[in-house]
């Protein structure tokens, strides 16, 4: 019988190696695998490349990982929120690299990796500073730039429900980057609120089919979830 469940977040991150590239799901807190992230912080791997929309808040969560000096490079669309102090301090000291990618391009590059595509042309960014060094061409009268797929060694995502086959269901705005990220890494683990038996997520309600997911770990939401998460985003 297939059983993709893990008992702890420590197991989820045990294989992360120095220099690994990690897709980190979530947009703000919805869909952010916060407890896997805390386990990753304790695990100790360094020189990480993190792909995430933002740069995390304060000195916890992704902010904590950066604060600890574990992150070599961030690939993000919006690391400039006032709450992103850890990143900003290290970035200004030249201790973290940044690859800035428009949000939709970031999502699409991750999707392209998961879909086995070699890249795509997009209008977004053509003729701007973010087109620097990128191949460009005019397609149907529109200036476009070439964007490459973005794949990773690990993807950590958060869903609402999961089953032992790796099927995932997201509540409300949790889907965000998690859906493409779950398709684009060699090793994918989902943190979920609730483990259900197969069929507990109806076949029409599976947002990430189990084929994409290596492991699922159930966590108890922090009782101060809402309070904690309103700061530092």
């Amino acid at each position: 019988m297939v059983d993709k469940t893990l008992k702890t977040c420590e197991e989820a991150v045990a294989g992360v190696f120095d220099g690994a590239t990690i897709l980190l799901g979530g947009f703000g807190d919805p869909g952010l695998p916060g407890q896997i992230l805390e386990a990753l912080r304790s695990q100790g791997a360094k020189n990480l490349t993190i792909v995430h929309n933002g740069a995390g808040g304060g000195t916890h969560s992704l902010g904590g990982l950066i604060h600890d000096g574990k992150v070599k490079k961030l690939i993000a669309s919006f690391p400039s929120n006032p709450g992103n102090q850890s990143f900003q301090e290290r970035y200004l000291k030249g201790e973290v690299e940044l690859e800035l990618v428009p949000q939709g391009t970031l999502a699409e590059r991750i999707r392209a990796a998961g879909a086995g595509l070699g890249g795509f042309f997009t209008p977004t960014g053509a003729g701007t500073d973010l087109a620097a060094g990128k191949e460009s061409r005019t397609i149907d009268g529109r200036d476009m730039i070439f964007e490459k797929p973005l794949r990773a060694d690990f993807a950590f995502v958060r869903a609402h429900k999961g089953d032992r086959l790796g099927n995932l269901n997201y509540r409300m705005a949790m889907r965000n980057f998690n859906v493409p990220m779950a398709t684009a890494a060699k090793f994918v683990v989902a943190e979920v609120d609730e483990l259900v038996p197969p069929g507990g997520i109806g076949p029409e309600d599976v947002h990430t089919p189990g084929i994409f997911v290596d492991h699922v770990v159930q966590v108890v939401r922090h009782p101060e979830y809402l309070k904690i998460t309103t700061e530092g985003r």
Binding site: F27, G28, D29, P30, G31, A76, S77, F78, P79, S80, N81, N84, F87, Q88, Y91, L92, L98, L100, V101, P102, Q103, G104, T105, A107, E108, R111, T122, P123, T124, G125, A126, G127, T128, D129, L130, H160, Y170, R171, M172, A173, M174, R175, N176, F177, N178, V179, P180, H207, Y225, L226, T229, R233
Partner: protein, 230 residues
């Protein structure tokens, strides 16, 4: 006289047609949703995977899984939908969003938009700004007419890095409503108490003033006698 921030948002809301799909940026744009009258349905999109957003959640009713792109706790209306980022940005890049209402640092006479890098800002961030500026059917800019140092923001040519070239269709400020046309900027309306000359004086790029140019119709509570909004 000039418009308050709410006044600018109100004036934009008046122009959004029934059935429009609209993405609102952070700042003044966010205020637009509260001024959609009961006579029309306008659908608000959030980059993080929401269509059909309702008002900001009331204190105590926030759902931790439901925020907008500005990270505020929000609500959804009947008929809303949730989806992932690739789908959300397909809506944007694919031209399905009818109106993106965005803030701006500078707008040029040809519609060039600069709104993603502030002068002196050391850590860059772009978010969904470029996607919206390149992708939406109509880019509407809301902003104060001049900087907080009194310098014009509507220019012959942008000095800051562009978000997207030739994308802005309409500009709504505390002083005016301006359309970007192939023939340049056209002053459609000026704030109550102003006149075209007063607007031009605060606008570096030349404005055409058609015969149809008129004073805005905005309720008194959205007007202020003080300096224009900073």
């Amino acid at each position: 006289m000039s418009l308050t921030r709410e006044g600018i948002a109100y004036r934009v809301a008046c122009d959004l047609p029934n059935g429009a799909y609209v993405n609102l940026g952070i700042g003044i744009p966010t205020l637009v949703s509260s001024f959609i009258g009961p006579d029309k349905e306008v659908f608000f999109h959030s980059e993080n995977g929401i269509l059909g957003m309702g008002p900001i959640a009331k204190p105590g009713t926030e759902d931790p899984d439901l925020i907008n792109a500005g990270k505020q706790y929000v609500t959804v209306l009947p008929g809303a939908s949730f989806f992932d980022h690739p789908t959300s940005f397909s809506m944007i890049r694919g031209g399905h969003i009818d109106y993106a209402v965005l803030g701006a640092l500078e707008v040029a006479a040809n519609g060039d938009l600069a709104n993603w890098r502030t002068p002196g800002e050391k850590v860059p961030g772009v978010g969904g700004a470029m996607d919206l500026a390149f992708g939406a059917q109509n880019v509407i800019v809301t902003m104060t007419h001049v900087t907080n140092k009194g310098k014009p923001k509507i220019l012959s040519k942008c000095t800051l890095p562009l978000t997207a070239p030739r994308c802005v269709k309409h500009i709504f400020t505390d002083m005016a409503v301006i359309d970007v046309t192939p023939e340049g900027l056209v002053l459609r309306e000026f704030a109550p108490g102003l006149d075209p000359k007063a607007v031009q004086a605060q606008t570096e790029a030349p404005l055409r003033v058609p015969a149809s140019c008129r004073e805005m119709s905005v309720p008194a509570n959205f007007q202020q006698t003080a300096q224009p909004v900073r």
